[in-house]
Amino acid sequence: MRRTPKESTDSWKKISRRALLLGGAQMALAGTLGLRMRHMQVDQADQFRLLAEENRINIRLIPPTRGRIFDRNGKVIAENEPTYRITIVREDAGEIDEVIARLSALVDLDPDELNRAMAEMKRSAPFLPITVADRVSWDAISRVAVNAPALPGVTPEVGLSRFYPQHGNFAHVAGYVGPVSERDLTRYEDPEPVLSIPRFQIGKVGVEAKFEDALRGKAGAKRVEVNAVGRVMRELDRQEGDSGADIQLTVDSGLQDYVTARLGIESASCVVMDVEKGDLLAIASAPTYDPNKFVRGISVPDYAVLRDNDHRPLASKTVQDAYPPGSTFKMVVALAALDAGLLSPDDTYWCPGHLEVGSRRFHCWKRTGHGHVNLEHSLRESCDVFYYELAMKVGIEKIAAMARKMGFGDAPDVPMSAVTAGLVPDKDWKRRERGAEWLIGDTVNASIGQGFVLSSPLQQAVMTARVATGRAVRPRLIKTIDGVEPPIEGGEDLGLNPNHLRWVRRGMYAVMNNRRGTGYRSRVDHEPYLMAGKSGTSQVLNRVVRNEDVPWEERDHALFVAYAPFEAPRIAVSVVVEHGGGGSAAAAPIARDVVLQALYGGTPPLDAYPASDRGRIEAQQERLERERRVREQEAQSRA
């Protein structure tokens, strides 16, 4: 069937018309596509370029190197030691189980750690290194390195971790670092991004925590290009950070080591302070613990042992525990009375062994009484009745004012954790806090440092230094930060009459050097280094029983404060032995040993001690020296 020419032409005309119509529509659509392209690539190019850059560029932080902590002589207290860990990259390992089997023949792999690593490996991208063993020894790392060809995907990695070479000696002072916790992050309003780096460590307690900002330094950053699944393709540029500042403490680690060892297994604390600048030469709390355990993340059983120990090794007793100061408070009462003009050195009171106040009877520790007592005798023999009488005359307000002047009732400004202010009670305080009126009996109790009065061993040392110098000595723990010495604060004159101070000091001298003094048995027998001191016993339970007859935790605390040398004071010392019994028996010998160790700058010669003590002291010195060598060897073998 052949088409007629007309049909053919009609067909062509129709097709042409429709083809042109459709062609026009197609061109219009193509034009729209072109315009859309122009809109995206020209008008919106900048914002899309930005999005593309955001996609590909990742900023990775470079953790800064933490500042170190030294003692006053430059001995290391906290440093950063390289730690080795073993990582596996799944995609490079191939047969992962086989590689792990080969690896475990070379290195001890902890099964828990390994299970965690395998789980993590399944979850994360195959090119990410997963840690299978942390803190492995150098030997293990060497074995892995030698066998590298048989261990595809296995890489030994090195990092820095905090290490405290002096172990327990500075646990309560320098503190320790640990991994950043959720709580740490909420503590900061705007946490620095560096805190979210895995394994990053920050100070948890002590100087490590208080000087966190200075020690941490500033993180650097590198910009890397990543692909869609997060694999790093190359590094674009990097900006190095600043390592943290080194901090030097005023503490002498030799003395600190001695003090810690001397306190031994007692639940005790001791502060040694330079009376000129207030430098804390030793500030030790016993028993102690190894801060390195906390850096690694302490195990639950290990922590339970520390937490449940009734000697409270975790407590920083020198600053965070407040005790009734006991008879060491008598210097404060005496100075308050002298300052008020209500006492002169020759005034005497009669001590029959007790004092009736209202219907209550207050005992002197010596039931038979001291007879006629003047200021020097009252300190020397620690007569309580003398101070009962005196305090009632002076009143609590003046005593409280003098106590504050001597450093009580206010938290010393030292960068340690949980520093207590202690307590200096007065009428206002009792009304406010207890809702009761001040009673005369409260004054009587306070006069011998019992009742409401509380102070920390550090405050006791400060008080002693102030009595010794008459100046407002303030404790100082930081010698330098980043090589710069912070200005020394305090040291201004307290405005006390020098005669008053001299009379009180003479009493403290008599405590140590008079045959009838409570500290006479712990005296120094070397003329230039003679001590002045005062014993104290702070009651744990208000009962009249012998300490030997009650369980340990109900026995009295033994306190002792001292300064030396008497003629030209250099150091002040305070010692607290918890539940140690009487201050003169339990605390004074420690104070004497520490004073001599500090003044001689090492083990003192035996002839510094009274002849009768030398045999016992020699044995003690030998024992401590032996223990010290053992510690040293242990430290060396661990390093």
């Binding site: 049909e7 429709r18 459709l22 197609q26 392209m37 690539q41 190019a45 996609n55 692909n227």
Partner: protein, 379 residues
């Protein structure tokens, strides 16, 4: 049916046919394919493997197939149209049946050197059979209802078969392409007006039904539509691909980031960068200048098809040529709309550029038909 419409005597014969090929069209197609090689080389990170070299070989094969098809007189192809359609339809049914029973979810036939998708074959076969149908149908019957129903069935059969595969993209292309073939053949515009308004009405009804008791789509289907309309509502899920594709395109700017310097494609942010989204790599690396140039090449191919169709007084040849041009246009228009975020992502490759064998070979055979129509046109 009129062999005599062709003036055989004036038609070139033997090797002289080569001189009468539509050479500009061949050059344009090769230029487009060349852009494809370049981009496949780039997305492989500067390597001929794994994509650029196989693609070149396939293009060579496609070119050879085109020449062979072009040498065969167009009237022979016209007489084979119905057969081609039936074969394609049978293959579609076969793949549907055997794919479901014995070959897993397979939608292709393995030819050894490539995998042939019957739905691709159908794109050409449908154009052929519709052109042959309207060549056979007397002009005055074109718009009468009974003669409109037959081509509708020819279109809806394979559309339905591809839809159940499910391959929504190809089904839409078949339906649109077939419909527009009917328009070109001269079916009365009123039919199209009715269909279009019915379609618009349906869309309106679907959207109006949202949240009412007579809701026409499931909630998740609506959410898919939302994601298409605003990909940022689902940046990590379905919207991720299109968002990344737009970033790649937009960040190219005027002149692009440089050959093999596109960060979006090089770092794998761009999905399917060697197939559906290859245009974004081009736009990223060569910018607006590169993108618009490829678009211009495509439009030129289309213009050459339309021009060839208008030159040709044979009804079958004109319709066939326009149909192939139309199919080509639908491919690139849908793909580009998709990668620019103007259309939902339905999985349509960029013709001659995207990596893939079947689509390229079928397209080259279709252009072989266009060439045959051109050589053997009445003079």
């Amino acid at each position: 049916m009129s062999y005599l419409e062709y003036t055989v005597k004036t038609t070139p014969s033997g090797w002289r046919k080569v001189l009468h090929l539509n050479w500009p069209l061949i050059l344009l197609l090769s230029a487009v394919a060349g852009v494809g090689f370049l981009m496949l080389y780039s997305v492989a990170g500067g390597s001929l493997q794994p994509w650029a070299e196989p693609q070149m070989k396939r293009y060579g094969m496609g070119l050879a197939a085109m020449f062979v098809v072009a040498m065969v007189p167009i009237w022979l192809w016209r007489n084979l149209s119905v057969l081609a359609y039936l074969i394609s339809l049978t293959l579609l049914v076969a793949v549907e049946l055997f794919g479901a029973i014995g070959m897993g979810a397979q939608r292709w036939i393995d030819l050894g050197f490539m995998r042939l998708q019957p739905s691709e074959l159908m794109k050409v076969a449908l154009v052929m059979v519709l052109a042959a149908y309207y060549d056979w149908l007397p002009l005055r019957k074109t718009s009468s209802p009974i003669w409109v129903i037959l081509p509708l069935l020819l279109i809806l059969g394979p559309t339905a078969l591809t839809l159940v595969q499910p391959d929504l993209g190809t089904a839409l292309l078949l339906m649109t392409g077939g419909g527009l073939m009917m328009f070109l053949a001269g079916v009365h515009w009123a039919y199209f007006a009715v269909v279009l308004s019915a379609g618009a009405g349906t869309v309106w009804a679907v959207f109006e039904s949202r949240g009412t008791p007579w809701q026409l789509l499931k909630d998740y289907q609506f959410r898919r539509i939302d994601t298409f309309l605003d990909p940022s509502t689902d940046p990590l899920g379905a919207g991720y691909h299109i968002t990344q594709a737009k970033i790649a395109m937009g960040s190219g700017g005027w002149t692009g980031r440089g050959f093999m310097q596109g960060t979006q494609s090089r770092l794998n942010f761009l999905p399917e960068k060697h197939t559906d989204f290859i245009f974004n790599t081009l736009a990223e690396e060569f910018g607006f200048v590169g993108g618009i140039s490829l678009l211009a090449l495509y439009v030129l191919v289309l213009i050459f098809c339309i021009a060839a169709a208008l030159q040709n007084r044979d009804r079958f040849s004109s319709l066939l040529t326009l149909g192939v041009g139309l199919t080509f246009f639908l491919y690139f228009a849908v793909n580009m709309s998709m990668v620019m975020g103007l259309a939902p992502v339905v999985g349509v490759p960029l013709p001659l550029v995207s990596y893939g064998g079947s689509a390229m070979l079928v397209l080259m055979i279709a252009f072989g038909l266009v060439q045959s129509a051109h050589i053997h046109r009445p003079r």
